[in-house]
Amino acid sequence: MMRERYINAALLGGLLLVVFWAYTGDEPFTITLATRVAILALAGVGLNIALGQGGLVSLGHAVFFGIGGYAMGILASHAQSYQPLTLGPLVIEGTKSMPLIWLTAMVASGIAALLIGLVSLRTGGVYFIMITLAFGQMFYYFAISWPAYGGEDGLSIYVRNGFPGLNTLDPIQFFGLCFALLLAALAFHAAFKHAPFGLALNAARQSPDRAQAVGLDPTRLRLIAFVISGVITGLAGALFADLNRFVSPTMFSWQLSGELLIFIILGGTGRLCGPVAGAAMFIALEHWLGGLSEYWHIYLGALLLGVVLFAPGGLIGIATRREAAHD
C-alpha cells in the first residue's frame, strides 16, 4: 500500500518533470504528447471504475469517449458558424466555453451509459463484453453515416475552446488544465474506493450472491458505477477533441475501446494509477517504436502478450512485486 503510493507519486511527478523539461527546453511537441497521456489516462480512470471496481469488462467505452468528443464538436461548430442548434422546440446556442462543453459532454455520456447499461447489465460475463462491443459499432456506423456533422470526414474546430482566465492555445496551460482534471478524477476514484458505495460495489464484484444476501442490489450498484465511468470517459473525450481541435468517428472505433483496456492492463488492473502508467507507456512506445519500424504493432502486440501472460499485475504490479491489486 505504502509502496504503491510512492509509485503513484513518482508517476505523476515524472509526467510533470517531463513537461517541465520540455517547457524549459522549448519542446512544445513533448508537452502535446504529455497532454495526450493525461487525457487518455483520464479516460482510462473512467474505465477503471467500471472495470477495477465493478468488474465490468466493457469493450465499448469508446462510445462515451466519442460522445464527449462530439459534444465538443457540435457545440463549438455551432458557435463557429453562429447558427444555434435547433432540436424541435429547443434552441441551443453553440458555445466555445470549456466548462459548458464539459458539462454537456458529461451529461450526454452519462445518459448514454445509463441506457446502454440498462440493456447490457441484464447480462454478464462474455455477453457483457460482446454487447458493449456491438453498441460501440452501432455508434460508430451512426457517426459515419450521419452527414450533419461531417460523417466520416469528422469536424474541424479551428480554434481551441476557451477556459476563463487561461490561454488554452498555449500548450503548457492546456496541459495544466488536463492534468488538474486527471488529478481530480484520481482523487475521486481514491475516495470512491473507500466510500460505502465503493465498498458495496467491490463486494458485489467479488461475491454477488453474498452481496445480495445482505440486501445490496448488485445490478443497481453496477449500473451506477457504469454511469460514473461513462461520465469520466466522456469528459476525457471532450478534452481529446479539444487537444486535436478535431472529432471524427474513429473516436467511436472498437480499436480505441481496446486501447483503453490496454492502458489499464499495462498499468495494472484495479490500481489507482494503472491507467496513468499504461497510457504513458503506450504513448512512449507509439512514439519510439513508431520511429523505429513501420511494423511497430507487432512489438506492441508481443509486449502486451508478455504482460498479460507473465506479469498479470501490470507495470505497477511489477514495481510493487505484488500481484493482488484489489485491496
Binding site: 519542446e27 512544445p28 456506423y141 459515419i144 466520416e152 474541424s156 471524427s248
Partner: protein, 382 residues
C-alpha cells in the same frame, strides 16, 4: 510604386530563371504527412515517391523534407502536424491523401500561417466557405472526376444510369458531382455501408433495373470486391467511375474483372507532353514500377513548390503565395492553372482499363471536360 517594383523584380528573376534556376532557388523546409502503413499505404508511398523524384531532379540541397506516416488516422495526422509546426518548424506542409485527414489538419496549419499544398484530397469545404489563402490544391476538387463522369455519360448517350457510393461524405459528394453534369434519368441512387465487401444486393438491384449504365465510387478494397462480383454476375452494362478506383496499384488485384471499365482522370501515363514523358521515364528508372495517378500528383506538387521557390523566399509569405498562384511549372498533365479559390483549372480525360503484356493499366481515350474548374469558386472569400 511598390507594386511596379515587385513586378520589375519578378521580371528580372524570370529572365534569369532559365539559366540560373538552382542557384537562385531559396531554401524551404517541408513537412510531409502521408499514409505509409495500413490500408491505403500504396497511395501514400506513390505520392511520396513522386514528390521526392521532383525534389531530386531539382538538384542541390534546397529542400529539406520531413516525412511521417499518419496511419490513415485523423488524430495521428493532427498530432504529426502539431509536431511539424511546433518542433520541426516547417514552412510548408503537404502529403495528405484522405479528405477527412485533410479536414483535420489543413484549417489549423493554415491558420498558423503555414502553406499547405494538397497532392490529393480536395474536400468541398476547403474549396468553398473554408478556403484559405495559404491552401493550394494541386490535384483536383473532389467533385471533378465525378462531374466528368456525368458529362461522359451524356456524351455516350446514356439515358438511365444506376448510381451508388458508400454512405459517407466523399460518397455523397461523388453522387452529387455526377448529378451536377448528368442530364438523363437515374435508374436508382443507392448508398452502401462504408467498408462493405459484399455487393450481391446492389448487383441484384442493377439487374432488376432497366439501367443502361452504372456509375459508382468505391475506393480501395470495396472496389475490388464489387468488380469481381460484378464480373461474376454475368451483367455487362458499361461501368463508369473515377480514376482513384482504377489506378495502377489497385488494378493488379482486380485482374480481368476491371477490363474495359471507363474512368475519368486528369492524368494518364500516355498524355503526350515533354514533362509527362520525362516523369514517366524517370519514375520507372528510379523505382522500377509504372507511375500511378498519385505519383503524378506528388510530382506536380513538388514541381509547383520548386517553381515558387525560384521566384520568392517562403519566409516572405506574400511573395511566395503570389508565385504559387502563377503556377509557372510544366505539369505532367499539360495545361494547368489555379482558379481564384486555389484549385486547378485543367482538362479531364476518360481512360479505359487495358492489359499491356501482363500488366493491367489505363489507356487515354478522350477528353470530357476542357479547362474545368469547380463549383465552389463563388463561395470562397479569401
Amino acid at each position: 510604386m511598390k507594386s511596379t517594383l515587385t513586378a520589375a523584380a519578378l521580371a528580372a528573376a524570370l529572365a534569369m530563371g532559365a539559366t540560373q534556376a538552382s542557384a537562385e532557388m531559396s531554401d524551404i523546409k517541408v513537412g510531409m504527412i502521408t499514409t505509409l502503413s495500413g490500408g491505403g499505404a500504396s497511395l501514400g508511398i506513390d505520392i511520396r515517391d513522386g514528390f521526392m523524384l521532383a525534389v531530386k531532379q531539382a538538384g542541390a540541397g534546397h529542400v529539406d523534407v520531413v516525412i511521417e506516416d499518419d496511419q490513415r488516422k485523423p488524430e495521428i495526422a493532427v498530432q504529426l502536424a502539431d509536431k511539424m509546426v511546433q518542433s520541426d518548424k516547417v514552412d510548408l506542409l503537404t502529403g495528405i491523401i484522405w479528405s477527412n485527414l485533410a479536414m483535420a489538419v489543413v484549417p489549423s496549419v493554415t491558420a498558423q500561417g503555414k502553406f499547405y499544398l494538397s497532392p490529393n484530397a480536395g474536400p468541398s469545404a476547403l474549396a468553398g466557405k473554408g478556403c484559405n489563402k495559404n491552401y493550394f490544391n494541386v490535384a483536383w476538387q473532389n467533385d471533378n472526376m465525378h462531374e466528368a463522369a456525368g458529362a461522359y455519360a451524356n456524351e455516350q448517350g446514356y439515358k438511365n444510369v444506376f448510381i451508388f457510393a458508400p454512405n459517407y461524405p466523399a460518397g455523397q459528394d461523388a453522387l452529387t458531382g455526377f448529378k451536377r453534369f448528368y442530364e438523363g434519368e437515374l435508374a436508382a441512387e443507392i448508398y452502401t455501408t462504408l467498408g462493405q465487401q459484399d455487393y450481391a444486393s446492389e448487383i441484384a438491384q442493377i439487374r432488376a433495373s432497366d439501367a443502361d449504365g452504372v456509375f459508382f465510387l468505391l475506393p480501395g478494397g470495396m472496389g475490388i470486391s464489387f468488380l469481381k462480383q460484378y464480373a461474376d454476375s454475368g451483367l455487362d452494362l458499361p461501368l463508369m467511375g473515377a480514376a482513384f478506383s482504377f489506378d495502377q496499384g489497385i488494378l493488379q488485384a482486380v485482374g480481368d474483372a476491371a477490363m474495359g471499365v471507363r474512368n475519368t482522370s486528369q492524368w494518364n501515363k500516355d498524355i503526350d507532353n515533354p514533362a509527362n514523358k520525362k516523369f514517366v521515364e524517370t519514375f520507372q528508372a528510379e523505382y522500377d514500377r509504372l507511375p500511378s495517378l498519385f505519383a503524378s500528383q506528388g510530382y506536380d506538387t513538388a514541381m509547383l513548390m520548386i517553381s515558387a521557390m525560384k521566384k520568392a523566399d517562403v519566409k516572405d509569405a506574400d511573395a511566395f503565395r503570389a508565385a504559387l498562384e502563377e503556377a509557372d511549372f510544366e505539369s505532367t498533365r499539360g495545361k494547368f492553372s489555379f482558379d481564384t479559390n486555389h484549385h486547378p483549372i485543367q482538362d479531364i480525360y476518360v481512360r479505359e482499363v487495358i492489359k499491356e503484356g501482363d500488366v493491367y493499366t489505363n489507356k487515354l481515350i478522350g477528353t470530357v471536360l476542357t479547362d474545368h474548374s469547380n463549383a465552389y469558386v463563388d463561395e470562397c472569400k479569401m
